[in-house]
Amino acid sequence: MIFAVITFPGSNCDRDCHDAIGRVLGYTARSVFHKERALGSCDAVVIPGGFSYGDYLRAGALAKLSPIMDDICRFADSGGLVIGICNGFQILCEAGLLPGALIRNQSLRFISRMVTLTVETNRSAFTSAYMTGQRIQIPIAHGEGCYVAEPSVVEQLEREGRVLFRYSGTIRGDEPDGNPNGSINSIAAIVNARGNVLGMMPHPERVCDPLLGGTDGQGVFLSMVSYRSRSRQESAPMAPSSADDS
């Protein structure tokens, strides 16, 4: 299983993803710079966290126009697994691969701490390794993680079971219901209609190695691996998105 990890100028969780996928979980992580035009052959794409282009204009606004994004959109359109973490989630929304947008945290503060999430469903390519209703601990670190969308879009996400993780910590100061950033319906992660593109604000890659204080994030990557191996058995191998691996 090969994960292509994208690096934009200002990405700062690309090495963490590399380490979690490669050293900790034993799969292959391959770096792809944002100026490349082709992903090469891979089974999944990781758009890591950080501050692409310094968050200038809006978080993710400039990264969505990077050369590699065309091939990521093609890869997603062909059913390939794409996960955007934190700034990656913001980029996927800006690029139109996911609905809605992420705006300033309601508190106007940058929040860096562990949060409790509820796994809303394990019937997805990204959560099958968990149990529905399971509560897991994954850290967040963001200033712009307040998820907003048109009411009709939110209603559709809920109806179609496309909210995969929800903030569900205990009440803590000015953060009612453990919703750290003011996201509508405490949404922490959503998938596209087809279910192959995930955006999440929490950082699963930071809780894969037990040395770092937890392993609750492993399930996200392991779910992707098992989804990919199931789909490989069921059908012909997925064609590389465009150009070769050179």
Partner: protein, 79 residues
């Protein structure tokens, strides 16, 4: 030629910065301030070109880059 694009939040989109400034002003006694919304002003210096051409170009830049249509609107201001 000079031109401006104004980017503002759509009505209904939460603007905590604007709310904070509004509250701050009201706490200072400016009770006539009812609401504050924060936006962005982007100034352009362009080569001379017909007005309509500049308007089309900035409109294109506005919707592909400067504003996120989910949460923002924009307005092109030419002198």
């Amino acid at each position: 030629m000079k031109a401006k694009v104004l980017v503002t939040y759509k009505p209904g989109v939460l603007d905590p910065q604007g709310q904070t400034i509004c509250e701050f002003l009201r706490n200072r006694g400016e009770s006539r301030v009812c609401d504050v919304r924060i936006g962005k002003l982007v100034e352009f210096e362009l080569e001379d070109m017909p007005r309509e051409k500049a308007e089309r170009m900035l409109d294109d830049i506005g919707h592909t880059l400067l504003a996120n249509p989910v949460i923002e609107t924009y307005e092109v201001v030419l002198p």
